[in-house]
């Protein structure tokens, strides 16, 4: 077992999940409650990573994060190294790749809350932030957990984006899924089986945890 890749994968998944929850909550709030005409566009953009081939997404990110663009140069200057082929670059790529998995359960959770409760909070003087913090988030706790579990497991299993942006640098960008690819290339099937079983176990355990929190007949996304 490539313990270095295992540790890197968990570090990447945990960091990505935290960043995604911090970004996903305000974006989901905006999508759920805005009356702006830009809402369909915002929903489409946040859903796009599901449909886009990971290599396409990875290629665009590689170009954007590289030192040929202003963003890439600023990031490189600020971090002291280019974003591409680094752990920070993997986090940026993973956040974009898993964004729909954070936003969609949260939007569904916010939509399931009775609008009368939000109106009462506003009538009682609560602003948007307090309503989000004290009413919306506690009442959509299941959706929050669903988003976190989906983001974590989706990041653990990602391959195309990680390989395109980060390459295959041991200890820096080689995650478990890339380690499996290497093991298959090297015909070390026994190791590949063990690593694959570990990923399978993680994904299955996460989904069991997700569905165990719901009552029978309810969707885990609600």
């Amino acid at each position: 077992m490539d313990t270095q890749a295992l540790w890197l994968t968990f570090r990447l998944a945990a960091t990505t999940t935290l960043v995604l929850l911090a970004l996903g909550v305000p974006v989901a709030y905006w999508i759920a409650f805005t009356r702006s005409r830009l809402r369909p566009l915002a929903e489409a953009v946040t859903t796009l990573p599901i449909l886009l081939p990971p290599t396409v997404l990875g290629f665009y990110l590689l170009v954007i994060l590289g030192t040929r663009t202003a963003f890439g140069r600023i990031a490189a200057h600020w971090l002291g190294h280019p974003l591409a082929f680094s752990f920070s670059g993997l986090v940026v790529g993973s956040v974009i790749y898993s964004f729909p998995f954070a936003v969609q359960p949260l939007v569904a959770g916010f939509h399931s809350i009775d609008p009368a409760l939000i109106e009462q909070a506003r009538l009682l003087g609560a602003g948007k932030f307090r309503t989000l913090l004290e009413i919306l988030l506690p009442l959509s706790a299941r959706s929050l957990v669903a988003a976190a579990v989906l983001c974590f497991t989706h990041t653990v299993g990602e391959f195309g984006v990680v390989l395109t942006i980060g390459g295959d640098i041991p200890g820096r960008t080689r995650t478990l899924s890339i380690a499996i690819y290497d093991q298959v290339q090297d015909f070390t099937y026994r190791q590949a089986t063990r690593t694959s079983l570990l990923l399978l176990g993680i994904s299955l355990a996460a989904l069991v945890l997700l569905y165990a929190r719901g009552k029978p007949g309810e969707s885990a996304h609600g």
């Binding site: 009775d114 009368a116 409760l117 109106e119 009462q120 909070a121 506003r122 009538l123 009682l124 003087g125 609560a126 602003g127 004290e134 009413i135 506690p138 009442l139």
Partner: protein, 229 residues
């Protein structure tokens, strides 16, 4: 004289009303679709009209032409409907305390106790809304709305789902309060015994205003017709 004036247009439906708040209780009366509930929602700030102006006691709460919109929480208006809309994850105490966070902790606790006592709900303080009956929920909803001491209380058929005894008890407790009430009800018998103004509405316009008994005497036949009897 304190007056409410509303000009509101949303799509094809328009409201243009102006009526005084000369008595403590004012009842909005009219057939379905006459704009009663819309008036309450516009006053509370829960509906954003395409075009409109709302003035209450000389204060402009909404003016779409001048881009004025006082948010619901700053209007000092309470609103209770048939649906109590208690926050399900908070206890009764936390629900009632929600709108008075600006008070010191001891003052807040005293105010919550006072409000729950007023509606005979002090024994429910630590309970969650899930375990309460319809009448108990409505008592808590009223206590929560009145805790911040609003200058106007909007009631949109808040007792319609309750049995007669519970409705009568809650109404008699409400009558003891020193707060102005704008009340939408289909049941005039509910408020017959107390002095109240009536505003008769039809198609988003006021057709008659005045003291309850006088309006009823003047337009008994039309009222019965409006109510579909």
């Amino acid at each position: 004289m304190d007056e409410i004036s509303i000009r509101h247009r949303q799509g094809h439906f328009g409201i243009e009303v102006s009526f005084p708040l000369d008595l403590r209780w004012t009842v909005l009366f009219g057939p379905s679709g006459s704009g009663k509930s819309s008036i309450l929602r516009v006053l509370a700030g829960l509906t954003h009209p395409d075009h409109g102006r709302v003035v209450m006691e000389g204060q402009t709460l909404l003016d779409t032409e001048r881009n004025i919109f006082v948010p619901p929480g700053r209007r000092h208006i309470g609103f209770v409907t048939q649906q109590p809309a208690l926050f399900p994850h908070l206890s009764v105490h936390e629900n009632v305390a929600f709108g008075i966070r600006h008070l010191r902790r001891d003052e807040r606790a005293r105010r919550v106790g006072e409000m729950l006592h007023l509606f005979g709900a002090e024994h429910l303080e630590q309970r969650k809304p899930r375990g309460l009956s319809g009448g108990e929920r409505q008592r808590v909803a009223l206590a929560r709305t009145l805790a911040p001491a609003p200058r106007l209380l909007l009631l949109d058929e808040p007792l319609a789902a309750l049995d007669d005894a519970a409705a009568h008890d809650i109404l008699s407790r409400l009558r003891t309060l020193d707060v102005r009430v704008l009340y939408v009800s289909h049941d005039l018998a509910e408020i017959w015994k107390s002095p109240a103004s009536v505003v008769l509405l039809r198609g988003g316009r006021v057709t008659q205003t005045g003291p309850l008994q006088q309006v009823l005497a003047d337009s008994r036949n039309r009222l019965l017709q409006q109510l579909g009897h």
